[in-house]
């Protein structure tokens, strides 16, 4: 079965309209991208989509009640609910600096983006 996926590239703010032609799970053609990153992303988007995940974690004795964190790399989309449940169980103590790795989840580093 031949299928065409159409979507907007989210690699950068340019937002190219990309079309990916797929047959039996194999990518035949990518159209509409303007850079190699866009092409790579589009292929990944139809084969195994990934996202950087961000949230806030409660922190004791900080200047603000939370610190913000992100995954150091994009994680598979279908794993996000599981990751969020894991992150919801964490509680931190100040001081925490921007760039600190507070924990790891299945080899993915959870990095602080706003300290406290």
């Amino acid at each position: 079965m031949r299928k065409t996926y159409r979507f907007t590239c989210i690699v950068c703010p340019l937002g190219c309209s990309i079309e990916v032609e797929v047959e039996d799970g194999k990518v035949l053609e990518v159209r509409g991208h303007t850079c190699p990153r866009g092409k790579e992303w589009a292929i990944q988007e139809v084969t195994s989509p990934k996202r950087v995940v961000m949230t806030v974690l409660p922190v004791e004795n900080g200047a603000l009640p939370t610190v913000s964190v992100k995954t150091a790399e994009p994680v598979p989309k279908e794993k996000i609910p599981e990751l969020m449940r894991f992150l919801a169980s964490l509680k931190l103590k100040a001081p925490i600096k921007i760039g600190d790795v507070v924990t790891e989840w299945k080899g993915v580093k959870i990095v602080v983006t706003r300290g406290a």
Partner: protein, 419 residues
């Protein structure tokens, strides 16, 4: 001098009002240019709205890498501190006075009392305010559970409080879409995003969030009424026709929270008080290519100038304003033999700056009125043509003009047309 005999007064070359990306970039640049600068911010932390924008997507142009909002803010704040820029947080501006071209007075409150600052130039970078429910004609019960997107974002991503469990978002602008993702990630149910226009309001990469989380987007619809006792219980949605008139076709959505994300307005009240001319299209001041307003020595940058969608351009505007302040202070004014007026042609909703000197390269920031495909951006007076595959009101266009292109032109008309 005039004014407030009992108020302790400070004296600087330039006062920067606002400690967000525009203000911090302006203060850093001003310091690097050798000016004595003071930055004031009313929050108790620097960064403006960036610390609560915890998603990635910032800094691709300005820092050459993708950062989250707090990371972007912290880079600027670090540089500010390293350079020894003086700043005060929890400093709320009461008034700006313009005594003469090189005598500005800024009155502010702070935890240690009331202060006045004399400065030769002012860079105003106080950001924008959000439009609220009453500005878009939503009527009904006065209940809790109605927030602007920014308020909801502060609650969630600074204070760690989820604003509700079942949420309807009004407006498909970037903040609304980004909050839809945050609500969904944190386990709230986003029942719908309601958009008045017949196309989405946000950047394409943010519209994609809705697909990721299976959130329904109603284009050409609006929320007209809220009902509940104490807390939001349901909201009434009506369909809108092509001419944005209500069709009478309506339905209710049950929700405990309504989040309003219907755009920003430059916060320029204090500038209006000193006679700064406002462009009704941007809601911000009319400026020249140094980002100087109609009041000499008062400069503006960031969302106080016009609503930006990329922080990178906000920081860039801060630097431009600082360069303007430097020239203004050194020369006693911004000189130009003749200003070239920039005018709006076909499908242009707004364009900034409004006046160009032709003595320096400049970035034009502009937005179209309606979406179009396969078009050309043209400035007929100078034969400038630029092919654009897609233009959307949500996506600001930035165009560089070289001084030799501008010089000699009586006016420049910017238009977006089909070739």
């Amino acid at each position: 001098m005039m004014g407030f005999p009992n108020v302790p007064t400070l004296s600087y070359d330039v006062v920067v009002i606002g400690g967000g990306p525009a203000g911090m970039a302006a203060a850093i640049k001003a310091k690097e240019l050798g000016l004595k600068v003071l930055l004031l911010d009313e929050n108790d932390y620097l960064g403006g709205i960036l610390p609560q924008c915890i998603h990635p997507g910032f800094g691709i142009h300005y820092f050459g890498e993708e950062l989250t909002g707090p990371e972007f803010a912290s880079r600027l704040a670090k540089k500010l501190v390293e350079l020894g820029v003086e700043y005060r947080t929890s400093a709320r501006i009461l008034e700006i006075r313009n005594y003469s071209d090189l005598e500005k007075f800024v009155l502010f409150t702070s935890p240690s009392g009331l202060y006045g600052v004399w400065a030769r130039a002012v860079i105003y970078a106080a950001g924008a305010r959000e439009r609220h429910a009453f500005e878009i004609g939503i009527v009904g019960d006065r209940v809790s559970g109605i927030y602007t997107a920014g308020e909801a974002q502060t609650l969630m991503d600074i204070y760690g409080v989820l604003p509700g469990k079942e949420i309807v978002i009004v407006g498909s602008g970037d903040v609304g879409l980004i909050m839809a993702r945050r609500f969904a990630l944190e386990g709230a149910k986003v029942k719908a995003v309601i958009e008045l226009m017949h196309y989405p309001g946000g950047l394409a990469r943010n519209v994609m969030i809705l697909r990721d989380f299976g959130i329904p987007l109603y284009l050409g619809h609006k929320v007209v009424e809220v009902r509940g006792k104490g807390r939001v219980k349901k909201v009434k949605v009506v369909r809108i026709d092509e001419n944005l008139r209500e069709t009478g076709e309506e339905f209710w959505i049950e929700a405990d929270t309504l989040v309003i994300s219907v755009g920003l307005v430059p916060a320029v009240k204090k500038l209006k008080k000193i006679g700064v001319e406002i462009d009704p299209a941007t809601g911000g001041p009319v400026v020249n290519d140094r980002l100087e307003t109609s009041v000499p020595g008062v400069f503006v940058a960031g969302n106080s100038l016009l609503i930006n969608d990329l922080v990178d351009y906000v920081a860039e505007q801060g630097e431009m304003a600082a360069e303007g302040a430097k020239e203004f202070i050194e020369n006693g004014g911004i000189e130009s033999r003749r200003w070239t007026r920039v005018e709006k042609g076909e499908n242009i909703r707004l364009v900034v700056p409004h006046y160009l000197s032709g003595e320096r390269d400049v970035y034009l920031y502009l937005r179209v009125s309606k979406p179009m495909e396969d078009v050309e951006l043209r400035i007929p007076e100078i034969g400038k043509r630029l092919k654009l595959p897609v233009v959307k009101p949500a996506e600001m266009i930035r165009l560089k003009l070289k001084e030799e292109e501008i010089r000699g032109a009586g006016k420049l008309t910017v238009e977006v047309v089909r070739p």
